[in-house]
Symmetry: C2
Subunit: 400 residues, 2 copies
Amino acid sequence: MTWIDLPDATPFGPDNLPLGVFRLGDEEPRIGAAIGDHLIDLAPVASAQMLDGSQLFNQPTLNAFLALGRPAWKATREWLLDLVRNENNRDAVEPHLVPRDAVTMLLPFEVADYVDFYASEVHATNLGRLFRPDSEPLLPNWKHLPVGYHGRAGTVVASGTDIVRPSGQRKAPTDTEPSYGPSQRLDIEVELGFVVGTPSALGTPVGVDAFEDHMYGVVLVNDWSARDLQAWEYVPLGPFLGKSFATSISPWVVSLEALKDAMVPLPQQDPPVLPYLRGDLQNPDITFEVRWNGQLVSTPPYREMYWSPAQMLAHLSVNGASVRTGDLYASGTVSGTAKDQRGSFIELSWGGREPVTVNGEERTFLQDGDEVTITGWATTKDGRRIGLGEVTGRITPARK
Amino acid sequence: MTWIDLPDATPFGPDNLPLGVFRLGDEEPRIGAAIGDHLIDLAPVASAQMLDGSQLFNQPTLNAFLALGRPAWKATREWLLDLVRNENNRDAVEPHLVPRDAVTMLLPFEVADYVDFYASEVHATNLGRLFRPDSEPLLPNWKHLPVGYHGRAGTVVASGTDIVRPSGQRKAPTDTEPSYGPSQRLDIEVELGFVVGTPSALGTPVGVDAFEDHMYGVVLVNDWSARDLQAWEYVPLGPFLGKSFATSISPWVVSLEALKDAMVPLPQQDPPVLPYLRGDLQNPDITFEVRWNGQLVSTPPYREMYWSPAQMLAHLSVNGASVRTGDLYASGTVSGTAKDQRGSFIELSWGGREPVTVNGEERTFLQDGDEVTITGWATTKDGRRIGLGEVTGRITPARK
C-alpha cells in the first residue's frame, strides 16, 4: 500500500496521514504529515511539484490550511495518498522524509474558541454522584441538550508541555473557611477534540447535516482538572480556575476523512431530541489508553458517548454563534461503564476513596513528577487501526 | 488646554484620547485617537514625525500596540497629549483630523480570551433571587472569590452590529418538556470591560500589584443575554448559549492612564479576602446611562462594585493561567441599589413581573427592532468627565 517502510502496528499507516507542525533544529516551524516513524516535510515536496499549497505548508500553524475548506482538504488528502502509495513519487518524497524522533512537535493550530462538552452519560452520572451526592446525578437538561461551556483557549498547550500544579482557593464541606494553596486533587480528563476548519456566519446556525463541511478533524485532549478548586468555585457560573491552567492536545490532527470507515451509529437517545439535533448521527469508534507513569490504568471507549460531535456543533451554533477556523471543542471526559474504562482519576478512585494501584503504590490524584500519557486509535469496520498518536504531560511543583 | 475646537460636554476631551480602529470610505482600517467630534488619523501624523510607531498605527487592530507594554503606552500618551495641547503641532495634525461622523468604527482589538465576572453584589443578589427563589441569593463562595466564567471571544462584536435574536432550547418550570424557538426573554447586561495588553507567562500568576503592568484600558460592554435559554442550560457548567450569540463592545478603548484621577477606594470587603486578593484596591468612578429606544431607563454606578478589576485579574491568573494581548474580561452586570440603577432588564422588570414604561409602553424584555445604547463616563476627583463613548445594538428578528 506504500513504498515507505513502516514499523509494525504504527499508528500512522498510509491511510491516516495526519497533519501537524514540527520544528527541526533551529529551522522555522512548518507543516508535516505523519507516516510510520517519519513525517513528510510537505512544503518542499509541494514546492517541487509546483502546487499552490507550498506556501500553505510553510506555516507555523495549520490555520490557513484549515480555512481552505472541505474541497481543498479532500484534494490535499488525495495528493498525500498518491505521494505515499505511488512508487513514482519516491524520488520526490524520500529526501523530505524526516524521522519523527528528530523533531519537536508544536501546537498544531492556533486555538480560536475552546468549548468543552460533557457528552458521556457514564461520566456525567459519576461526577453528579461525586459532586452532588444528595441529588439525582443527571440534571433534568442533560438528555435534552449537549451540556457544555467555554474554556480558556490561551492555555491549550502542546503535548509534552510540563503542567505546573495550579494553586487556588478550595474549601472542603468540613472546612469553615476557604484556604489558598496548591491543588491537592489534580486530575486528568480523557477527551476527544474536534477542530473546526470552515468558519460560519454570525447569526446562522450550522445544522447537524453541515457538520462535515466545517469540521476538519480530531485531536486527543487531556483536560487537566483541579477538583478541589472546581468544587468550590463552580456554582453558579461553571468551572473556571479548576480547568483554565492547562489543556493539552496531541500534535497530529487526524482528518474526519481518514476516520470515515471508523464511524458507528450513535447509541439510541431516549427521550427523543428536538428536531435541530436530529440527523444521521455517528461517533468515531475510538479506544483510548491511559498510562499513569507508564502503567495502563484505563481504556475508555468513545463509541458509547451519548451526544454525537455533529450534535455538539449544531447545539453550539443554534443560537447563531459563529464558529471560526481553529475553534476547538472537546467531547468531555470519555468514560465507559466498566471501572477500568473511566476517563478521570476522580472516577477511577471514586473521589479518592478507592485508590488505584500504580506501579505497586496506592494512588488517588496526581503527585508532582507524575506523567500521564493518553493514546488512542480508531478501528475501521474492516479492522484497521487509524492512530491518533498521543498526548502527554508531566506535573511540576506549584510555583512559590 | 487644546488648540482643537471641542463641542461642549464632549466625552472625548483633551485628557482622554482613547484609541480605536476606523474605516474611512474604502481605505484600509487604521488606528485613530478620538478628540471632540474628530479623530486624529495617527499613522500619517506619526509617519511625518518619523516616529517608530507609524507602522503600528497602520493596523486593523490595536493588538500590536497593546503588546508593547506600559512604557510604550505612556510614551504614546505623552506624544498624543503634546499633539493636542501644543499649538505648534497644529500644522502637523490638522490635516489629519477626521470628522468622526465620516468614519465607521470597527472592533478595536482582536479578542483573545473573553472572561465574564459577576462582581456586583446587588446584581448577584438580584439574579440569585430571580433564578433560585428558594435559596440564599448569594452562594457561599461569592464573597471569597470573584466568580467568573469564560465566554465566547469569537462573537464579541463592534458597537452598531445588529443582534440577531437567538433561538434555542428553553423550558419554563411549568413546562413538561423543553421546546425550541426564538428567545422570549432577550436582555442586556451593562458591564465594564478590561483590555489586557502585556501578556504573562504560563504558570505565573499576575498579582494584584502587577495589574497596571498588564492592563491597558477599558471599554463599555453589553453582554446580551437570553434568559430563557440560560435558565434551562446553566446547571451544572454555567451559561453557554444564553450568552454566546453576541457581546457588543464600544469602539474607543480608554486607557487606565486617562482614568487615573477617577479612581476611588473599593468598598469594604467583609469577610476579609485571602492574601492573594489584597492590595491597594480601587474602582473607576464610572456612571453608565442605559437608553432603551432612546429613553433613559437606568444609570448604574460602577464605584459600588464589590470586586476590583485588579482582584479579577489576580484571581483569573492565580492558578497559573496565562493572559494574552487582547484578552478581555468584563465586570459582570453593574447594578446599583436603587431600582433605576439596575443594569439588566430582568432586574429592572423583576423577572418580567414589573414592566418598565418605555416611551409610554409597558415593556419587560427586548422586542425585535428595539435599540439599546449604553453610554458611560468616569468622573475625576476635580469633577472632569472622561467619556467612554457608547455601545449600541439593535435587535433583528430570529432567522428562520
